[in-house]
Subunit: 478 residues, 2 copies
Amino acid sequence: MSDTTRDGLFPVAGGGRRGRDEQALASAAEALRQRFGDRFQTGLSIREQHAHSTTYIPAQLPDGVVFPESAAEVQEIVRIAAHHRVPLVPFATGSSLEGHVNAPFGGFSVDMMRMNRVLAVHAEDLDCVVEPGVTREALNVELRDTGLFFPIDPGANASIGGMASTRASGTNAVRYGTMKDNVVAVTAVVADGREIRTAHRAKKSSAGYDLTRLFVGAEGTLGIITSVTLRLQGIPEAIAGGVCAFQTVEDACNTVILTIQSGPPVARIELLDALQMKACNAYSGLAYAELPTLFVEFHGSGETVAMQSRAFAEIASEFGGTDFAWTANPEERARLWKARHNAYWAQKSLVPGAAILSTDVCVPISRLAECLVETQADIAEHGLTAPIVGHAGDGNFHVGLLFDDKDPDGIERAKSFVARLNARALSMDGTCTGEHGIGQGKRAFLEAELGPALDVMRAVKQALDPHDIFNPGKIFLS
Amino acid sequence: MSDTTRDGLFPVAGGGRRGRDEQALASAAEALRQRFGDRFQTGLSIREQHAHSTTYIPAQLPDGVVFPESAAEVQEIVRIAAHHRVPLVPFATGSSLEGHVNAPFGGFSVDMMRMNRVLAVHAEDLDCVVEPGVTREALNVELRDTGLFFPIDPGANASIGGMASTRASGTNAVRYGTMKDNVVAVTAVVADGREIRTAHRAKKSSAGYDLTRLFVGAEGTLGIITSVTLRLQGIPEAIAGGVCAFQTVEDACNTVILTIQSGPPVARIELLDALQMKACNAYSGLAYAELPTLFVEFHGSGETVAMQSRAFAEIASEFGGTDFAWTANPEERARLWKARHNAYWAQKSLVPGAAILSTDVCVPISRLAECLVETQADIAEHGLTAPIVGHAGDGNFHVGLLFDDKDPDGIERAKSFVARLNARALSMDGTCTGEHGIGQGKRAFLEAELGPALDVMRAVKQALDPHDIFNPGKIFLS
């Protein structure tokens, strides 16, 4: 960790050039073994399970994995790590997509999956308190009898702690917001081993700095989250949805813009490009038109979803959309969404044996069509195979880039494509990541996006984690 | 400013025991005069206009007031203040309610009202970029022809910069959220004089720490906001509203809970207690029942607001509410809401000549009835006059405490009441302020609410403002 000063008065937070301190790592491992016994593991296969990047960045293994079962145990782990000044990498389902769980400087993976209790459900207040290892699917099973649900759906059955840490969102963020909007408070163990609570359970507060939002999206670099208080939603009385194809990406995007602007409050509005539709047809044995297609869903009462579906159909027809056949029948809806939900596997099947990089950017929706068209041209020009799926209502899209991860040239071509994609999004007033986070993969693009604001982030990191124990080498290049 | 270390590893941010450095203040004043000429003023009356607490805390005047007209000028002001290590207190409309604009250690008020341009309106993206001195009413006038509006309405015609800095909300936060939810990005001048941008214009982002939310609610203690990017909403096609009285506060609160839980997406749901209704009748010459009363509003299409109004009427009748006569007629609605909008002046007229303290707390809505009933009992027991108006859908309410600010005993009784009110809210898992902020008045209650998390906030303050130039003496007791 360097103490030198950059431009201006803010210090440099550590990370990039940190080395491995073998002596400290060995001493910390011994302390963890003594305290946690069998719940501290150093076998190769368990370390491999806890480190992967899901990118072209190689896996970087931790020196061991510890399995706490309570906040008090997390405090003990942090105190051991702080004493020896060794890295801790919080881990849950491992579904992050930018190398968040790699351990570039060694240290210890803190596996939170044994902290998986729903601590409280306050149905009248539409909130609940959960430990970080609860997955979103497990939470919704637990909530089944309350008439409530937790709406954020990033695709994977991710943990709530991980979703908070990467500021996750997904298909229905357009209606229910992201983790930023749905986390009421967290408790977290900070660098001195104390557990803090960022807020009480009131629905809103103006009480000091918004530490809740500071921990949401901090990717485990400021402390380890030990509980999350979440907002819940009433399960909609009715859900209606349908599929609509367009001749061009522009027509589909203009339909999205007018829908968002003029009103029918859409719960999901997903855009799949022609190649993605082709992949879905092949993978799931479907016969959709291989054209840019919107998958749309409305939540409300039986009357309102019918009204909203009709309003959407009118807008879509203005832009040449095919007949919007919507349905409120659960089985028909499930069939409809099967193609969308299998998008990732369908992508993979396009090039058997290829690796897949799922990368995301997000732009103002007025620029979405332009960004998509330029990206498709880029893909064609460079002879890549890369279907696109977007959370179009948020201007957020994912490119599923198929590449050969055994071939250095294949990796270089993938890297260059990602660099061009990010430069394009930033030039359109967008962001280098709408929902995947920075991790290791997007650090240079974050610098390009926010410039001097990064020094403010570094100052926060340095202040809250002066010995750089929490997930070093993430978010910041150096 | 102290450099001692508290419990744990986090440093103490300055503020509480800071003194006046007369030499530094004189030198900084001279530098500001040379640079800004007539736009730097030191007359008593202008200094008085820029310092007041709207509480029982006496006014504490700045040494001068400077009127920047651009972000570059704000940078010059910050560099002068940083060089001489003197305080800067950002100021706009001065409508804050907890002593935010007082200057307890002297220094200079930075009046942002000349930075009042709407810099851009992006209608397709439902956002705009404004300078901090734009008021919410001026913004909505400017937006008139776009079909869009900015929904946050804290009552006063506050500035956007001030609303961002106090994390303001108001009557329709229950539908549209607070400033936390409606600020996309800010630019701000930080302690080293650089201007940072916290985010681009994409609707969502997972790019690093959420500096936007760190500046929203920071009360000018981390830097001076120079522009705000705001989310906008489509003006609803139809608005319907009405008034409904209940025999008890519990019945009114249960109506609110079931409304929030079961669905009709209410845009405003305001609770006025019996004393407030009496004051409104007297002040505005109305004849409402002097009972706990809900004022309700729905936004949507003509069809949906009618459906929602009927659904609400059914819920209200379950809890013994009077017939809910709703109307979508603009004149009738204006008449309805006149009583609510004049609540503050109606409060004042209850005790001619008295001072009024508007204080707020916020609790989970399941505890709102209990908190209100206990607060009314407290008011009665202590012989106080204090009508209550609440943003009931958020569990947030305001007590308009009438007291004699010339009488030390009157001030003491007011202070004791506020202390009991806050202890009560905190004991119910609530917050000491739902929307007014901490300023000077709520600092002790913030300590009580968040405990060790305050040390994390202090570490952030110390890291971003090491010489404690930005609004010292606010948020933190010491």
